[in-house]
Symmetry: C2
Subunit: 312 residues, 2 copies
């Protein structure tokens, strides 16, 4: 199992990425082999300093870096020797089985969609987030921003992708799938969700339990919550802000600790043909460690094979 990791992506790269690898190696009994893309002159001394065993990592020299604010398509095209471009090349050519970066999100999206491509049958890949439930459980919310405008069938496919992810990666048996709406009954909502509801209802690959409202998002009513990326992104960022606000106000409670999104590592791009995980720009060691663990789990459970079968 070979995992590619962009060492130059994120505000605290490469140091926090190296520390994350260290934590990963120390915690996991059978670590995967890691292909690290980035500047070898910077990385090699750091890897030695943090005692990363050379038996499980290989630095793939990539002297260029795509900045956080560069234009994604342009940067990917012009910087073929960047850590992101090289990482996607390794993934596309089968040298690695997954690719992780906390770098330029747009460039990661472009790479995932154009260099790896969508699973056949998937109209629009999606990104999701973990939602901490007030009873201690964990829900999945998608789409959280990749698709600001959706068609009903997009939501239906997000439901299938999210259900497979919840089942195989989050370990939720027969996950309850819901549509985020502004009323509970069928027929409520805007034109999009009114049209999407019957599709989800007839989707035999999911356990559709109906609509949920804003008040249910943090409750344990359902496991997979589906919406278009505009609403989902606003929910995600609002949830993230609760962690910041409670921290700043010194409101200490384990429930709000769980809104620290670093706990969950990164966001996989669901619906592309190979595992691609995008981290937050502010990722620290723990986030990098968790992203590597997530990639390993996605490969180990053959999540992508299951998704391909589902859309075949």
């Amino acid at each position: 199992m070979n995992i590619g990791l962009d060492m130059m992506g994120g505000d605290f790269a490469p140091l926090e990425a190296v520390k994350g690898i260290q934590q990963y190696v120390n915690e996991v009994s059978s670590p995967a082999f890691l292909f690290l893309t980035g500047d070898e002159n910077t990385l090699n001394p750091l890897l030695r300093e943090y005692n990363i065993p050379s038996s499980i990592v290989k630095v793939v020299h990539a002297p260029q870096v795509i900045g956080m604010h560069e234009h994604p398509t342009k940067a990917l095209k012009e910087k073929q020797q960047s850590s992101i471009a090289v990482g996607f090349h390794l993934l596309a050519t089968g040298k690695t089985d997954a690719f992780i970066s906390a770098g330029n999100t747009g460039a990661m999206m472009v790479g995932a969609l154009y260099s790896i491509k969508a699973i056949e049958g998937v109209l629009r890949p999606t990104i999701s987030t973990i939602i901490p439930k007030e009873n201690g459980g964990t829900g999945l919310l998608l789409d959280v921003g990749l698709n600001a405008d959706c068609k009903p069938e997009n939501l239906n496919q997000f439901a299938t992708l999210g259900s497979l992810y919840a089942s195989h990666i989050l370990g939720i048996e027969n996950p309850r799938v819901s549509l985020i709406n502004i009323g509970e009954e069928e027929g409520k909502g805007n034109i999009l969700v009114q049209a999407a509801y019957p599709l989800l209802k007839e989707n035999k690959q999911i356990n559709f339990v109906g609509n949920i409202e804003g008040r249910d998002i943090f409750l344990d009513k359902t496991d997979v919550m589906v919406c278009e990326g505009f609403t989902g992104n606003i929910i995600l960022k609002l949830a993230e802000s609760l962690f910041e606000i409670t921290k700043q106000k010194q409101i200490k409670h384990e429930y709000f600790d769980r809104f620290n999104f670093e706990n969950y590592g990164g966001t996989p791009v669901l619906g592309v043909a190979k595992p691609v995980i995008i981290g937050h720009g502010i990722s620290h060691a723990k986030a990098f460690k968790n992203m590597i663990i997530l990639a390993q789990k996605m490969i180990g459970t053959d999540l992508l094979g299951k998704m391909k079968t589902s859309f075949a």
Copy 2:
């Protein structure tokens, strides 16, 4: 100044409505005259029991009640002697200057839109909510569910209506108006907000400060936050659930106390030609008191006159 109040609306009517009147009379130095619609046989003894001075209230007998789950249009048509129908009749005929109910929300909407009608020039009236800001301030979010599908011009009108409300009722000078979006720059977002942005930017009646994201909703970045009713309703109900979740988990902090939406009374329907205020079904005395105070303020500041001038 005459304010109409539906005594039979809400889960705890009429008792909590009577208690709310009592609180109102005790707190306000110049109370308005109240027209109370409902069953006089139930109301008169209760009003006596709670020592409501007969000099400031008049019961207008309305023997029928529209249940919380009745079909709005059908119920309003068939129950002309209901407390809501009678209340709207008083408002439409000028006997009262405002109407308040915590009853069937749909029936209140239908009454507001068809018996009172929109201000000339307003395409779609809207409902809003107060958002408690983490620095102690107060923001206004709209639309929160009346308009699940919107056109760009609807959002632009919500901006104007919200700005007038924030200025005259919330006392915010030159309120900062923003568009809720999934990115900060102009051009971000779904098709709707991309098209709405230039309209708000060119709207000379508002102080437009640009886009805000989900993470900014509880911060003091702007005073009036505009979105379509789907997203707004989800934000509102999610915010309401924070009060419930923190209460249930015994997380005590004055910030979350401010998510008790009962503090804010009800929601005015903005853009209709007269003040109509809709309360939450679970309204208690404090909410009724605050709704009467709000109605009095809307009349006293001639908010509706200002809105009419704005759209003339």
